[in-house]
């Protein structure tokens, strides 16, 4: 155990570990399935995975921090994946980014204080003909302008308010 502060429910990944812990070369798969369960990779879970796979926390953390997919912090209700691919860049994604940052008061990789939005710049979503594009929780929004992007955020915010 790494520390006494985090208390993740380790039984949640028992099934994953039973299936993969002894399979060589499956660390990335284990981490992907773990993140699906917790929404992120809690540090105590990383220690647990290291112990069960006969590895070290340094190695597991080394792999977890190498790949863009893994995160060590929980994310907001809405994950904004803002495409920064070449086509989006050419079509003004930086301006969209400036407007979103201004609206939410967060930087890339951060989450708003109310836990609603996380902003993440991503390499390419592959919807180049709709650029500039962002994806929020599996829904893709294309042909963005700063105004349109902020309108979408406001809609989601209102939706979250309603469901409270």
């Amino acid at each position: 155990m790494c520390c006494n502060h985090c208390k993740s429910d380790l039984t949640l990944i028992e099934g994953v570990l039973k299936e993969y812990a002894d399979q060589k070369g499956s660390l990335i798969t284990i981490l992907q399935k773990t993140q699906d369960i917790y929404g992120y990779l809690p540090i105590d879970v990383i220690y647990h995975i290291a112990e069960r796979t006969g590895s070290t926390p340094a190695r597991v953390l080394g792999v977890a921090t190498f790949y863009a997919q893994f995160r060590l912090q929980p994310i907001g209700k809405y994950l904004i994946m803002l495409c920064q691919g070449t086509a989006c860049h050419v079509n003004g994604s930086e301006r969209i980014e400036a407007a979103i940052k201004q609206e939410l008061g967060i930087e890339d990789g951060e989450t708003t204080a109310d836990g609603l939005f996380t902003l993440k710049n991503v390499a390419c979503l592959g919807c180049c003909s709709l650029s500039p594009v962002m994806m929020i929780n599996d829904e893709t929004y294309g042909s963005l302008t700063p105004d349109k992007a902020i309108g979408i955020l406001n809609e989601l915010r209102a939706k979250a308010e309603e469901s409270k």
Partner: protein, 583 residues
């Protein structure tokens, strides 16, 4: 009559799923009409696209369809009358987007149902593997591929037969065939389209490869950002297994091959084959020293062969039609066809497959219809972060490996991003260096530190803090990184900088000497100002400004507070009176 909705990722992003659902909801009320899906047709700019098929014949194609058009389309399908839906029909001019192409790798994309092995078989699928297993030796296959001149479509352009032969010749019973579907170049999406739209083509090509090198296990390494591709490929693998096209004693022969998918986790460097192998083994994706090459010592230290998706997608066609038919297309040094993802400031963006030997102008103006808003063409970026920018003077460059290489760019995986005069070239170079610096795995010093230093210099140039001698310093760094980096990512990272300096040196000089951005893109070097003569005081810009930097009374000229402005350009886009200028 069959209604077919094109459902590639970009179609779905444009609303194809909603269209499909709307049609599905209403279809029970119509007789003689069925509903189906297909993959990516490749005309991304017209999505969502809905086709009507009468038997195997395309009866009508509707473009930019919305969910509310569902009933009209169903009516038309039932009555076989297009009068009521004339506004949705594709225009002749847009039909030319497809008719000017020669499709081999994409031959089934947007035509067959990607979720059905029967559809692939009906289109002549799995005939090539039958032909191979019923009498061709490994050497025979290699000979056909050699004659075809097929070269690796992932970027390096290495002859496919040579890699296959090396893996075949390697000693050992345990060999692996790996497909690189870690399509990381921002702006390229042809591999995703192939997997989503025609997954069995990939499986068949891989089976032929596995037979040829003697592999019993095949792995497809797919980018994690492609969930739909993973889903469709998994479905296709299961279907093929059920038909004994994968697994033990395929089609009753001695040949056995298992296939599985490994989802990547997001790292551009994993497109490099030895880094990909490290990642497959569950490690950090850092490249290995070569030699030994994967053909001798790859996945789990066993002989392995790695090819890109598009390379495999050509294989079955070549076996069926002969190496000569493939080699008949193209130029002296580049045979066959190549798929390009045409994006950026282009009128008609999408997937384009053409024989090698056409010119850039043929693609950008002939097929792509020219530049958005009829603006002036400035450059085309080819090959992603490893490639370069080709200026308008070289628009008649022939598309083949040698000619593109001579411009300083590369063929790459086929990203073709078109730029107009509003794109700043030093900022473009900075954009790519930002990408490669972030994606550098950190193993070798020239790439890890070199790209970082280059990014710093480019950042200061774009911020108007460039110094005399910065261009020369950049050039020196570029050459050092090219020579010193361990893998392809580092060795090619300087290409965007070198080509933009070579063709657009004046823009670098304007940033450094006059502190001006000629394309008016670099936010530190521009200001937005409201022309008080033209401003009508409509208050729109003030209301919409995300930074609340604009103030003014109704019907009176407004002003921008420069210290609060975040340079998002929203006001310029919104102003109906053209009152806001960029200086």
């Amino acid at each position: 009559m069959k209604v077919i909705v094109g459902q590639g990722s970009c179609g779905i992003a444009a609303g194809a799923q909603k269209v499909y659902n709307a049609i599905e909801d209403k279809i029970s009320a119509f007789s003689g009409v069925t509903l189906g899906v297909t993959g990516c047709i490749g005309m991304c700019y017209l999505e969502p696209i809905v086709d009507l098929y009468e038997g195997e014949e395309l009866f009508a194609r509707f473009v930019r369809v919305k969910a509310e058009d569902a009933e009209r389309i169903l009516n038309a399908a039932q009555a076989m009358c297009l009068d009521d839906v004339a506004d949705l029909l594709i225009e002749d001019e847009d039909k030319a987007f497809l008719s000017q192409q020669t499709r081999i790798a994409l031959r089934n994309c947007g035509i067959i149902d990607p979720t059905s092995i029967e559809a692939y078989i009906a289109a002549g699928g799995y005939e090539a593997i039958k032909k191979v297993l019923s009498g061709m030796t490994q050497e025979d296959v290699i000979e056909v591929i050699k004659v075809s001149g097929l070269a690796g479509r992932g970027g390096a352009g290495f002859p496919t037969w040579f890699k296959w032969n090396a893996a075949k010749e390697s000693k050992g019973d345990e060999k692996y065939l790996i497909c690189n579907a870690d399509e990381g170049d921002p702006g390229a999406f042809m591999d995703r389209a192939v997997i989503e739209s025609d997954p069995h083509t990939l499986i068949e090509g891989m089976l032929i490869g596995a037979y040829t090198i003697g592999a019993k296990e095949a792995v497809v390494y797919v980018r994690a950002e492609y969930p739909l591709a993973i889903k469709r490929l998994q479905n296709a693998i299961d279907e093929a297994k059920a038909k004994n096209l994968l697994g033990k004693n395929i089609l009753g022969t001695d040949f056995s091959c298992e296939m599985r998918i490994k989802a990547g986790a997001g790292a551009f460097v994993c497109g490099e084959e030895t880094a990909l192998i490290e990642s497959l083994e569950g490690e950090r994706g850092m490249p290995r020293l070569k030699p030994p090459f994967p053909a001798q010592c790859g996945y789990w230290q066993k002989p392995s062969n790695i090819n890109n998706v598009e390379t495999f997608a050509n294989v079955a066609w070549i076996i069926n039609n002969g190496g000569e038919a493939f080699a008949a297309m193209g130029t002296e040094n580049s045979k066959g066809t190549k798929v390009f993802a045409l994006t950026g400031k282009i009128k008609k963006g999408g997937l384009v497959e053409i024989p090698m030997g056409k010119t850039l102008r043929d693609v950008i103006y002939g097929i792509g219809g020219g530049i958005k808003n009829d603006a002036e063409f400035k450059a085309v970026q080819m090959g992603g972060p490893s490639g370069g920018c080709i200026p308008k003077e070289l628009l008649d460059t022939v598309i083949d490996y040698k000619a593109l290489g001579a411009t300083g760019a590369i063929m790459g995986s086929g990203g073709m991003v078109v730029m107009d005069s509003s794109t700043c070239m030093p900022a473009m170079a900075k954009f790519f260096l930002d990408f490669t610096a972030k994606e550098s795995c950190g193993k070798c010093v020239p790439c890890r530190i070199g790209t970082k230093r280059m990014l710093e210099i480019l950042t200061r140039i774009c911020n108007g803090e460039g110094k005399e001698g910065d261009i020369e310093l950049l050039e020196e760094l570029c050459l050092a990184i090219k020579d010193g980096a361990l893998c392809g990512l580092g060795q090619t990272a300087p290409n965007p900088v070198l080509t933009t300096i070579r063709y657009f040196r004046n823009e670098y000089e304007a940033h450094i000497n006059q502190k001006k951005c000629p394309a008016k893109e670099c936010s530190n070097l521009i200001t937005y100002e409201i022309n008080s003569d033209k401003c009508k005081g409509c208050t729109l810009c003030a209301k919409k400004c995300p930074a609340s930097a604009i103030s003014g009374e109704l019907k009176k000229a407004h002003v921008i507070d420069q210290s609060a402005c975040i340079k998002c350009g929203q006001c310029v886009t919104l102003c109906k009176f053209g009152a806001i200028s960029t200086n």
